[in-house]
Point group: D2
Amino acid sequence: MNVTGYAGIELARLLAGHPGVELVSVTGRSSAGQRIGQVFPHMANLDLTIKSELDEVDLVFSALPHHESADQLIPFIEQGVSVIDVSADFRLKDPGLYDEWYGFKHPAPELLKTAVYGLPELHRAEIRQSRVIANPGCYPTASILALGPALKAGVVGGNVIVDAKSGVSGAGRSLKLSSHFCESDEDVCAYAIASHRHQPEIFQELAGVSGDITGVTFTPHLIPMTRGILATCYAKLNNNVSETDVTAIYHDFYRDEPFVSVVSEAPHTKHTSGTNMCLVYTKIDHRTGLLICIAAIDNLIKGAAGQAIQNMNLMLGLPEETGLPRLAQFP
Amino acid sequence: MNVTGYAGIELARLLAGHPGVELVSVTGRSSAGQRIGQVFPHMANLDLTIKSELDEVDLVFSALPHHESADQLIPFIEQGVSVIDVSADFRLKDPGLYDEWYGFKHPAPELLKTAVYGLPELHRAEIRQSRVIANPGCYPTASILALGPALKAGVVGGNVIVDAKSGVSGAGRSLKLSSHFCESDEDVCAYAIASHRHQPEIFQELAGVSGDITGVTFTPHLIPMTRGILATCYAKLNNNVSETDVTAIYHDFYRDEPFVSVVSEAPHTKHTSGTNMCLVYTKIDHRTGLLICIAAIDNLIKGAAGQAIQNMNLMLGLPEETGLPRLAQFP
Amino acid sequence: MNVTGYAGIELARLLAGHPGVELVSVTGRSSAGQRIGQVFPHMANLDLTIKSELDEVDLVFSALPHHESADQLIPFIEQGVSVIDVSADFRLKDPGLYDEWYGFKHPAPELLKTAVYGLPELHRAEIRQSRVIANPGCYPTASILALGPALKAGVVGGNVIVDAKSGVSGAGRSLKLSSHFCESDEDVCAYAIASHRHQPEIFQELAGVSGDITGVTFTPHLIPMTRGILATCYAKLNNNVSETDVTAIYHDFYRDEPFVSVVSEAPHTKHTSGTNMCLVYTKIDHRTGLLICIAAIDNLIKGAAGQAIQNMNLMLGLPEETGLPRLAQFP
Amino acid sequence: MNVTGYAGIELARLLAGHPGVELVSVTGRSSAGQRIGQVFPHMANLDLTIKSELDEVDLVFSALPHHESADQLIPFIEQGVSVIDVSADFRLKDPGLYDEWYGFKHPAPELLKTAVYGLPELHRAEIRQSRVIANPGCYPTASILALGPALKAGVVGGNVIVDAKSGVSGAGRSLKLSSHFCESDEDVCAYAIASHRHQPEIFQELAGVSGDITGVTFTPHLIPMTRGILATCYAKLNNNVSETDVTAIYHDFYRDEPFVSVVSEAPHTKHTSGTNMCLVYTKIDHRTGLLICIAAIDNLIKGAAGQAIQNMNLMLGLPEETGLPRLAQFP
């Protein structure tokens, strides 16, 4: 549902190349009746018409805006259709956070208990059993994968800082001055400082990993590039841990993960472009006793559409890697 | 052979995802002994070591620089191994043009007669039968696909102009001031005006399509983007032809082509990114009697690695589309 | 009038640093009442409030959209105030062209006869005497300066082709999908092919230089950069002219021009950034008998605000270079 | 001395437009004998030849690499010529830090005591009296201006974090893979994590402001833009301070500064482009008790050449703003 945004159309593209599913129906709010290639010329080779209502389906992805997504998905959930929600509407466990951060009263707070936060590296077993998946936000995906192993191992705690850098596609396809080429090109700026909606999501999941975390300061930045998120995270090391120890912790944590690589040099977002990979790197600043953890992803794939398909593969019992690139389009 | 450039590594990436072949061996001049992920971190998920010499193979791609490519390929050709040369060494039929434009005496002029210029849209049948394929240059691919149908139909003739715009990856991975970010970002310039090596290649192939062409003026430009070529071509309409006629000629010419689309709006290079597609568009300027033909490609795929694989598919009798994306990575 | 677009605010910035004038009043349609730094933070150091109506002034610049500009300027012209119109409303001599190309009936066709086309390199003497200056369009500035000397000298004629490349700022600050960062970044495309409004303007002025010109084919392209225009022009050499002859013609033509340099290497738009300079270069393609002339400008300065100030300097009898940078901000 | 890098040539450009000085002589290591426009076409309008040795001068700027800069400046200092060193060679007070961080033994450790760190906002009075100015590094300029007022006022302390983002021009004009357009475009990465040479410089100056600071974690990032640095800084608030208090502290601190603006929205580097301005912004994260301070500068101007001229103005008793733009080239 709703392929007319960047995450939605990327989902359509990846599903079109997925050998295990058939993309039977796409919807778009303002473009119903048009062929997909009229809205997105890069998809002209796909013979699909955008509809206003879904056909009968086995599984629904929603790339609708928050609030609207829950409203549209609830009937499907009640009919027993599996749903993967790319919006934020089922991510937070505490219904009150929707009032506080998103400004609406959640229409089905009881569903928040059963919905599973779709980060396979943390919740793979529950995802396999669930019918309602809350696909993680782009910034939380990078931040949680960067900090999770150190928190889990108990080597860091307290307040953590996430200084994140995102390409402009994260702000969507709708028109705003901050996405105008002439304003964002050759520029970098922070936004939504200490007030971004992904902050409670990052905190909820990291607090689920370890009770040692007490808070998250989250500062997103807009970078003059189209795709990619780099999350540079800072956490206080709470005892004498060596570089070798930390590296071992991360390699252990991600040993069997198909889409996370622990790398030995500071990662580049460009090396993830077009893939579902997350590249994770750690470094200790011995002078200040901080652990610096960095994660790089393609915000539209591991940060949205690709992770949704990874979740779908798990729900349907398909091999987890199916239809998901692991080699980047570079340069 | 030689994966250490941008075309070479793109070839390795596409071959790694190709279901009908096995990538058994890669070489690189200066990086022998390194794992492929050490030179190109975006390829770290591919477990291959770069060698100095090829193993025993059925088919060789060469992405070596010109002259060196011929020298290395000739022994393979003599042993009956099929070769696809991404360099320019087998593209020109007249050996004298190598002295004139490339500054070396061709080491095997007799092979130039049997080598096939690997543009499937013009030479599909010969490619299927050949053992030596000269993979077209990036600019010629776009220029010939833009102008070919009109010349073939006899509606244009005389001197043609190709004003082409290329992303910086066309200049390769080696270090030069003109590829320095700070010099090429926020800049556009022409280069090699009336003296670029792709001029004789474009002329040779278009003259093969129609004797009505008398010359090519070719002006390449460097654009601050990584991938993509747009060729804007101008040719004198030699009689009263309508927009409808021209459109019909192009649709007829490319009717069954899997990798050329005749589009109804001026094409964007970005809509070809990551694909083997060429988007072609035509428009008549009635005031001046010119036909304007525009083609957009991804210079590293349809303009290099993808077309090489398209040729390989034809040589090996595989379905032509195998392993070649048709939906772009966008945005 | 109307500083809320890119050309308007650049005019305000340059006037603020101009030693010979005082910027007394700025207007903006939707931002009246705001301080200039609220609309444009880069201008926060300038203490000016945007008004809805002009104060009493000696000279008015208008950066309003076409049609509206004429409507607003006519009263000032009637009161004898000098005006420099950055819009197109006084550029075309033939009133019928406004119906044909701009879709409105010109409100004061008699003024078109007395208004002077403000390209100092062609019309310096008239500009000095005039009260109504039509400031040239960005593409016409580059195109006319590139082709003018060769036409004047009679070495080229017939139909000419202008293949122009512009940064995104040329499309203005208003929001459109084609100016969205994610759509224009890493992309190049042609637009308004054989139908751009600058075509009749280029033709009018070049026809004024020489009756030998019979038509103009004009193809603008959008380039992923903020500022700059490169016009690559093609014209048939009508007799045996050498490279040396052409170079001499251009050097002669521009010998005393403070803002045109004839350069010996193909020019980069980046080398004009922030300046009022136009860099001009020529090259003969002997194979096809074409002259290739290239001009590079900063579209917002020599292509708009800077040229307007150059015209003002001439009208006010100030040294022509006053307040206009000649050294580029680079890189 | 040494105009062949980006900081050096920007210094030459600004000095050429400075009304109070005459640029008599420029040197460049590899380009001696060439006109300045041959090395930098954007400077072609300046009639200067690059020399191998300086003429007789009153004041020398050095934009040489570190170590070489000290070696070349020492003779001038000994002759009583005023010097402004854009390199790092006189910035650190402790000679041992040159061994540790720069890998060379300082040739004149006694001069480190008398050299003044040329950040006018901290050391204006000493700069006026000094003959040897160590012009601050680009990252330190932004970091110190962001954190200085809060430290001075005693509202923050402990370890601070500086997460900085720089355009590619900060890496210089020399050729490296990381400055290749195709590698840095559409990419963001961290580098020199916990090991960058600007770390001791930031710490030295901030420790001079307040003994409450115990350490600096400094993480620079490379951003796909040419100019600009954004420093996002995090410091623990050590008592109950309100947003209003902090804002007042910053406004007080910078009240009379011509080149620092305390802004009310998160600053954009683009709004400083071409100027000597530093834009500073603060925000409290009440959930975690952190102060977030952000500074934006043009790395080549306030971060290098412009600050050098600001220092020169102070040394020569000229008005401090002379020759230094305060309105940005935007967009």
